[in-house]
Amino acid sequence: MLNQNQKLNPKLLDKDVEQVPIRFGYGEGLLKAGEENENVVALCADLTDSTKTSTFSKKFPERFVEMGIGEQSMASVASGMAAMGKVPFIASYAMFSPGRNWEQIRTTICYNNSNVKVAGAHAGISVGPDGGTHQAIEDIAITRVIPRMNVVVPCDSVEAKKATYASSKIEEPFYLRFAREPTPIVTTEESPFEVGKANLLRDAKNPQVAIIACGPSVYNSLMVAEELSREGIECLVLNNHTIKPMDETSVIDVARRAGRVVTVEEHQVKGGMGSAVAEVLVKNYPVFMEFVGVEDKFGQSGTQEELVEHYGMGISGIKEAVKRVINK
């Protein structure tokens, strides 16, 4: 059953559940952070509206820096601004930042320990018709491997707002990952959120499988758990929004309780959130696992639904993974 303590969207299981692009929460969280702290500044590389940096830049034009299409310079300019006491948020599509400017993020932000937040919009396969060039499905891997970098993947726009705001309060580098297309609202303003603390969204008395998900995959995982419950298979669903630092206690706890784990993410299986979960479990509490994500392939054009389904992260793909792991 849904965990009442999580105060989730009451209409979560309805067919007409409200859907909002996760990236919208970035604009709102950034605005909130900016209203509270005058040192919060925003930079963007010619994608001000679609990254929702515009929510901030309209209110605080004097604290917004237009970079043009220069993601590499953007990362280093932000580092320089942080050296002057600013709290810079840099935004682009994840494919370009942290995709194109990885070394600048590593050296001038993380190696320097600069208080810079990197916001990657249009991440995941669900980007849709733009095709494989624009679908960042390697970004979790390349950011979580950098020392000092925090990595957060919110499951909906409400959580994205909280994550963005929360990152402004922590003086460390952050990577915040957002999807493009409308995504069902899972949480509410009242739902708990803390960086580094995973949330158990669905609980069960005698769970057979723990589904650990992040980003838009959290909603699909909840739908799968609901359907499987009717078939007599009970699943825990953990919203593992912080990939780094990972909430090892919660991850180990659900693995211990269910004895089987399936991870779900819109990302390459290699190096992603599931790999990070495996790194924790293999050391502390090894269980059989299945990894739902993109299997060493590039994306292509299509609708959000077509792509998520085709690459195995849809309802049917997750269901099959749950059944596979039970049969191991």
Binding site: G70, Q72, A75, G80, M81, A82, M84, N112, N113
Partner: protein, 289 residues
Amino acid sequence: MANLLDEKVKFLEEKANDIRRSIVEMLLEAGSGHSAGPLGMADIFTLLYFHVLKHDPKNLGWPERDRVILSNGHICPVLYAAMAHSGYFPVEELKTLRKFGSRLQGHPHREWLPGIETSSGPLGSGLSQAVGMAIGNRMNDGQSDDKWFYCLMGDGELDCGQVWEAVMMAGRDKLHNIIGIIDRNNIQIDGFTEDIMPLDSLRDKFESFNWHVLEVDGHNFESVNDAIGQAQAMFSKPSVIIAHTIPGKGVEFMERKFEWHGKSPNANEAKEALNQLRTLGGKIKSEHE
């Protein structure tokens, strides 16, 4: 900024010679590192740390200090030597360069050695950071001229596209607090810059991006000092000083040799180098006596 009196020039020449000797000694001790660039930039670093900069080696967090952003981190021996000789840390510590646990990392790290403004090594990102600092400073203090951002770059790193992203932006935003100094020594690891990837006309390139361009002999203290003064007087755009230098300056067998870009001297070579530098010291004295 003050003009240079003859006596100060003599003082700077002697300091520069001390710094060159330190560079050779520390590279010998380290057994690896870059020789040509640090020796070539010794005069400019001496001028900065002993005459130009508003800084206080005993008060590293002073908010009003000028910022030195070393973009081409591989010439850090000259930065370390200038810092040590101007009082940031004991000169003796220079011998720990590149050693395990040393604050003097092979490429500079701002946390390992306080007093360094940014970590660098991968080329081409210094100017972007100077741009960020100048923009942040403008947001904090308006159009004030309370501090300058000196970004030191190698000429080879101008191959990097990111440099031109920053050049374009500094020109757009008229960041006049930025003074770029390019070590125009014409060499990079694989050979001469004009063979590898031609950079000329550097003046035209920067001017077309709305920069104020000055060209000087990078070994002439008065010329470099005058150029910095002129750059500070330019209120409508950023300035860049193209400093023509001789790589390996002061050590005859290293001068103008790209082979000396990325290697350190062995014991015999260092002995010869130090001998030459001592003789040069004698020359300087005689010129001014």
